[in-house]
Symmetry: C2
Subunit: 199 residues, 2 copies
Amino acid sequence: MDADLIALLPPARERRLARGEALFRAGDPALGLVVVRSGALELVRTSREGRRSVLHRAAPGDTFAEASLFEPRHHCDAVAAAPSVVAVHPAAELRRAASTDPALAWRVAAHLAARLVAERARAERLALPHAADRLLDALHALPAEEGGARRLGGTWKALASELGLTHEATYRALARLERAGLLRREGRGVVHLGVRARA
Amino acid sequence: MDADLIALLPPARERRLARGEALFRAGDPALGLVVVRSGALELVRTSREGRRSVLHRAAPGDTFAEASLFEPRHHCDAVAAAPSVVAVHPAAELRRAASTDPALAWRVAAHLAARLVAERARAERLALPHAADRLLDALHALPAEEGGARRLGGTWKALASELGLTHEATYRALARLERAGLLRREGRGVVHLGVRARA
């Protein structure tokens, strides 16, 4: 949630979506900046070969479609993965407001810079040729709870897909890391890292 | 080259770099927006395990370090891969100019949005689990010359590293794609795509 940005934005229009309903489809005119209030939206792209892949899953507080402020049309679908409420800050109004408000324009730029840094980190992780390295890197990036536990936001299957891995490769890598003492699984979607049991 | 942005920027300071010389190192105070005038700079990150990897190679006309306008320090090294000249638009001056010039601030945002879209496309490509798919996707993204040839900007080795592949995997995938009639190599770093020789 980029509260500094949201505080400066012109008023939003609220949209309610049923599960499976699309907020927009690739090729639709750009709506504007979207903030998820509740539920979850998936950004989905269809490849040249017709393969659909989830680029991103936006949870409450997340913003998306910021690049659509600068482009006439959307490049992916946004589909509700659960009953959802979103706030849409219309592109034209936001552009108009920013044209006389340098603080707002700069705040949009800062928000995009933060997204760019995050996206680069994701690309770097994906460029790691070994599944175990990708997995460890992604797990290290999760916030550590008290006691050092790290909790997956979703399922291992969702993480595998985010990392460009098959489930099988993910489970094999997990088992290998566990045997090497580099992580320990504890209940559903909770891991401890760097255990390094040398016994 | 984002000429629209560069035209709005406050004056740059020129820096000349010898091959191997660093413009900045991770942890250094953020310099500002950099435009490559000649030569080439590599952005290099060192992982937790001490492995160095090239994140990006910036060629003449390319800009980089735009995220450093919003952060106090650099997160990677920028090293000249050849004798180079760069223009540095200092962060503090750029921020000051943008604070009273909404057109400049918005142009910076637009530039960041374009980088974000490109970085996302890179991450999507890297999420493809098969080497041949990544390679085809990267080759399709190159501009087609007259006659349909596509020319690599660098070496196959550099492309392999950008795609998170070993050279061996890249050459195997190339051979497989060629046998399947999906591409044809023609001289150094030139390919034709979609030949689909069904003979």
